[in-house]
Symmetry: C2
Subunit: 367 residues, 2 copies
């Protein structure tokens, strides 16, 4: 599938585009997988940050949203004055993060819990204790580290956190983890196994200690579809809605599954095998995993590599024929979550035209 | 200088702070260097994107601003309806970029040139020719590559571009380069030499071919103060206003010269030598040069290293005593230009209080 000739006419670049048909296909595929596997789907909204996409996820059967911050939830969840309940409204959010709630965050969480069901993450007794003033309005999930060495307790550490929740009458829903070590070539299956094993261990310890543990929540885009039925109760993939160069290079998605790309103009051609695009790190994002072949990929030029990236320059190397000076090409960012967060809105393309403009409503909602 | 105890009370994190005294010192130092060296200072505004800082740079004697995009110029330059001319207004902008001007950009450049002096960059005859409809309103600088292998012609390639400018009656101001290969340990001096030599070569070729070449413009923060009098006519450093972890690790700035940092809370302490901060790549920026020791630095904990960075987690390793759960620490981003572009405004701190809030006015002005 060649993108270039089907780009809307008159685009000014750089422009961040969403291909509507591919987005819809990605959304329905993951929803179908979750349905067939009888695992609840709670998509991570930090990837898209768009009300429009959150609503479509809900329509397709998502249980609710995962978010990284209270701010994302405030923006994407059902509003207090929302009149009619519809299937597309987000009424259940999980802040999948080890929150440290100061007074301001407590007030905001309390107000949020007035309108929707709110669950927060925690990985220490101290963090749980801070939730005491609003404990009856919330639920908590305990974060377990399944191999990423980021936040989260070991399965053995789960009891201390559960006891803190019990002391303040905070309802414990279960355990969650982020198998982020799935982000490596061939690492998805092992990470999915780690995730299932570690969540099962933690759940067992909780139950043996007299606690309830109904939820086992995991799932990243590289590992989500490797989850075996019966191991997890919910998955929280985010990137799958758009995919990106990382997913392509990991073999998780094909280039034709990539639903977001940055239209970019060839502004310089200083050598026969090198050209420069006006999409730099301020629109693509500077993310580059150690195993990535470059700073993003070109949708229509599979052999091209983005060998250098500055704020407003992407330097591309390509042997043989390439795009001409002034030509517009489609660049696939390495990490789409970062790319989305850099722009005010996304141009939705359908049938070769820009049909809508979706605000990145929760852009920079880092708190 | 310990920052932590002097952070304003009641900060919600992550919060991007500017330390007013350090900013002022950085601004005056570079202005003094330029004055003493008799080199014009045309600071690059892509770093700060703030009207307030642009104005202070002008008051301190800057000739005008460098910008990366027409959008940055539109936002930061003197407005058409500006009544009183003051020394702090930006009346001269250089778009230091090889612009490819389509019709929309031509219209905008034309309108911009109605209010201020506009110079644009170019590195091909084709790019110059596109400027024909507004050629009499602009000036052009030819970009030379002095070793970065990004955009820019070789000195020998300068004549073809100059001839194109002559054909369309576009005034040629001179030549410019970005010595970006100064961004490596010990590389500043060599890059400054490359820059001076290559600009001199290009200028000589232009003059020998009958063209004028009054301006030789260069300068990055690591190389700017290594420029020898008489070699360049202007420098365009950007990062020097704030500095960042890259400049500290390159030895270009001391930690006490860093004027921008992200206040961040310790949200998790999963191991005795590891803690997690709520400042991730969506506020610090994911930039990491190959030689960087981590994903940013902690202002008060010189031995700490940010060993992992995700969108909302910075994982810090530190042997021995470190900050406690819930403590707020100051994180210095690797690359400040990216960090500034991620937030809507900067909190200006003076005497331990937030005294102002400066909008990042040209945030995401990528076009």
């Amino acid at each position: 599938v060649v993108i270039g000739p089907h780009l809307p006419q008159g685009l000014t670049t750089p422009a961040t585009l969403v291909l509507a048909d591919r987005l819809e296909r990605n959304l329905t595929r993951m929803a179908a997988f979750a349905g067939e596997s009888r695992i609840a789907l709670r998509p991570h909204a930090k990837t898209h940050k768009c009300v429009e996409i959150a609503r479509r996820q809900m329509e397709l059967g998502a249980l609710g949203l995962s978010v990284a911050t209270v701010g994302e939830a405030e923006i994407l969840a059902r509003k207090r004055d929302s009149r009619a309940y519809t299937a597309s409204e987000v009424t259940d959010v999980f802040v999948a993060y080890p929150l440290w709630a100061d007074d301001e965050l407590l007030r905001r969480l309390g107000r949020l819990a007035d309108r929707v069901q709110v669950t927060v993450g925690a990985d220490s007794a101290q963090a749980v204790e801070r939730l005491a003033p609003i404990a009856r309005d919330l639920r908590v999930m305990i974060e377990i580290d399944c191999g990423l060495a980021r936040s989260g307790v070991t399965p053995a550490g789960v009891t201390v956190v559960a006891q803190a929740a019990e002391r303040i009458n905070l309802e414990l829903s279960g355990v969650f983890t982020f198998p982020g070590h799935s982000y490596g070539p061939g690492a998805g299956a092992g990470a999915a196994e780690d995730e299932a094993r570690v969540l099962a261990e933690a759940a067992e310890i909780l139950v043996a200690s007299g606690f309830r543990c109904e939820q086992r929540s995991g799932g990243s885009t590289p590992s989500a579809r490797l989850v075996r039925p019966g191991t997890l109760t919910e998955i929280r993939p985010g990137v799958y809605v758009f995919n990106d160069a990382q997913q392509v290079e990991l073999g998780v998605a094909a280039m034709d599954d990539v639903a977001l790309m940055v239209a970019s103009t060839v502004v310089s051609r200083p050598a026969s095998d090198r050209f420069v695009l006006d999409a730099g790190s301020k629109v693509l994002g500077p993310d580059r995993m150690s195993w990535a072949t470059g700073h993003g990929r070109l949708a229509d030029w599979p052999h091209a590599r983005v060998v250098g990236l500055w704020e407003h320059h992407a330097v591309v190397e390509l042997q043989g024929r390439g795009p001409a000076l002034g030509e517009i090409v489609a660049v696939v960012p390495n990490h789409v979550c970062t790319a989305v967060n850099l722009v005010a809105d996304l141009l939705v393309v359908d049938g070769g035209s820009v049909v809508e403009r979706w605000p990145v409503a929760a852009r920079a909602a880092n708190r």
